[in-house]
């Protein structure tokens, strides 16, 4: 037998996981996402799961880069730690940073910014991140402990369209 084992629950039995620590910058996030995709491809993850992982992790990491570390350039100690653990149902993702806390209150939901296709000048250029993240993932939670933000979510093995997908398709 050669090469790394497939992801349990996807094809084979061997436990699979990945831990990365990278600077909280857009360029470092891009490199980390490439490493995740290469790892998932090696592990035999299907294209759909790989695509959802890329989209969800991009939005989650961009949020940290933009909001947890709002200073530009970010301080040299501004890092993101990413843990991915595969299990029978899919991937459990944990992202940790030591940036600012989210404002108190419930996490943003699936709401998209208002959109009028006829009003070119008024088209929204942002506000999509959480809607995209919610659509790609399940069981999102955010906690704050010892100065650390801990964002967790699941990427199910099989894509089950959420309410947002049903509305738009």
């Amino acid at each position: 037998m050669t090469g790394p084992g497939p992801i349990p629950g996807v094809i084979g039995p061997r436990p699979w996981g990945l831990t990365l620590r990278f600077a909280a910058t857009p360029v470092a996030v891009r490199a980390a996402l490439s490493a995740v995709d290469a790892g998932l491809a090696d592990a035999g993850a299907p294209d759909d799961l790989r695509a959802r992982a890329q989209i969800a992790l991009a939005e989650a990491c961009n949020n940290i880069v933009e909001h947890a570390y709002p200073r530009h350039p970010p301080p040299t100690e501004a890092h993101i730690r990413l843990d991915i653990a595969a299990d029978l149902g899919g991937l459990q993702i944990t992202l940790r940073d030591r940036g600012r806390a989210m404002p108190d209150g419930p996490l943003p939901g699936r709401e998209l910014p208002p959109l009028d296709p006829g009003d070119i000048a008024g088209l929204p250029e942002g506000g999509f991140g959480w809607a995209i993240l919610r659509d790609m993932t399940r069981a999102i939670s955010l906690s704050r402990r010892n100065g650390q933000n801990i964002l967790r979510f699941r990427l199910p093995h099989a894509d089950k369209p959420g309410p947002l997908s049903r509305i738009v398709t």
Binding site: R30, A51, A58, L115, E125, F128, A131, V168
Partner: protein, 114 residues
Amino acid sequence: MKMSFEHRDGLGLLRVEEPRIDASVAIQFKDRFHDLTQNGTGDVILDLSQVDFLDSSGLGALVGARKLLGAGRVLELCGLTPTVDRVMVLTRMHTVFPIHPDLVTALATRAATS
């Protein structure tokens, strides 16, 4: 940010020659789009067939590019790969841009309706 540009029959044909439009290149994308299209007056077709990933920052830059053209010029998209198409539909941005499977179809559709 690699992008190629060509004028053809009053149209601007723009092709993104990068695999990702994400937060790390969103501003460059918008700036480059502006540089390449600001002197023209016609509609623009943006070929995204080489782009396999678009995040919300890249999408914001795409919307920003659309605004740069103004209401008098149309921005059409073609060659959306599956992940890009997915983000466009999820955010309803597919209702903002005319979208064609590929450049040949985009040009043929315009020829048929003009």
